[in-house]
Symmetry: C2
Subunit: 206 residues, 2 copies
């Protein structure tokens, strides 16, 4: 199936991939090969991280019974569409530096770099990746065997090819298009944010 | 100047940009045009985020006296090289959801996606971006006018074209090459991490 028309327009020239990456819900059940999964994780592997710690941990299911286990941790609001995805991952951040055991305040930040690298590589190969916050967070550690004292679970990720949006529940199908963004002026400030002597800046929180 | 030879090799096929993005210290003082900065922030703008919150805030200096202010917040270990960068940014995460004021546990994660989008777009345009953790964190809020009750500072970012590594202090020049990564097997697990009935898994923490 073809995804819906992408009406996103960049205000300044950027690589097409940034606009082309979005988070669909209509996944096809066609399996994703191990070769492709290797390429997705390879892209994540080269993400930058503080002190090159590489604090990311991806748990990946692409066959039964792993998929069943991974699905059952999702909230029903995600299961209605993500159950069709042929690949599900859970991304964890290792919250202390391995070199000295001290808390790593950049762990989640660095995991975000790895995640979007994976998502951009997915688009290059014709797939989509959709990160989800809705899952039984507290249960993921025991169910997936990941020590909660070392890791914090961040998100689930559905991965696959685009599917048939007609198979989505109507309320989910209604959301099935690339979303928009705030203007750049809402998140880029040149110089100091609130100039001490000048007039008050407009608040950046919309 | 040409950057040092990049000896990175991907173990699985990925977009060249992921290997080509690294964090040099030899920046050229050549200014970066506002058009290019717009493209870098445009790439960050399209990063994914939880509930499309877009929690990132970039403060950017590309001219005096802003550059001087931004430089003075850096640790000396970064100033020895980053003072030559023609652009410095500080990236902050807005730590609560704007729609309901509740804590956003994905704020830093989403900022990581925005940051690496910027860094990848920088490479597309022939520039480099280098994120830094070494700065006077507690002073950034007052000095840059960003409310600490709403935002958490994550990193400083130097941006510019590649410069002359001979201008770096010798100990800094010695580190001037793309770094490597752990093997994929250290951060990708298929299925449950510690299988309950099987033999103990090797620890993932090196």
């Amino acid at each position: 199936m073809n995804p819906p028309a992408n009406e996103r327009r960049a205000n300044h020239p950027i690589d097409d991939r940034f606009l082309d990456r979005w988070s669909p819900r209509a996944f096809d059940t066609t399996p994703v090969s191990r070769d492709i999964l290797d390429s997705l994780f390879e892209a994540a592997r080269w993400a930058p991280s503080c002190f090159n710690e590489q604090p990311w941990l991806f748990l990946c299911a692409h066959e039964e019974p792993d998929l069943d286990l991974f699905r059952r941790l999702l909230r029903d609001s995600n299961r209605v569409w993500a159950d069709r995805a042929p690949v599900l991952c859970y991304l964890f951040a290792r919250m202390a530096f391995s070199r000295n055991g001290k808390p790593n305040r950049w762990a989640k930040f660095d995991c975000g770099a790895a995640w979007v690298s994976l998502a951009l590589q997915a688009r290059k190969l014709g797939l989509y990746a959709h990160a989800m916050a809705g899952f039984r967070r507290d249960d993921t550690y025991d169910e997936l065997g990941v020590p909660a004292e070392d890791y914090e679970v961040i998100c689930a990720i559905a991965i696959g090819y685009y599917g048939d949006p007609a198979l989505l529940p109507p309320d989910v199908a209604a959301k099935e298009k690339p979303n928009d963004r705030k203007p750049m002026s809402s998140f880029v400030v040149y110089g100091r944010m609130n100039k001490p002597a000048g007039p008050a800046c407009p608040t950046l929180i919309p």
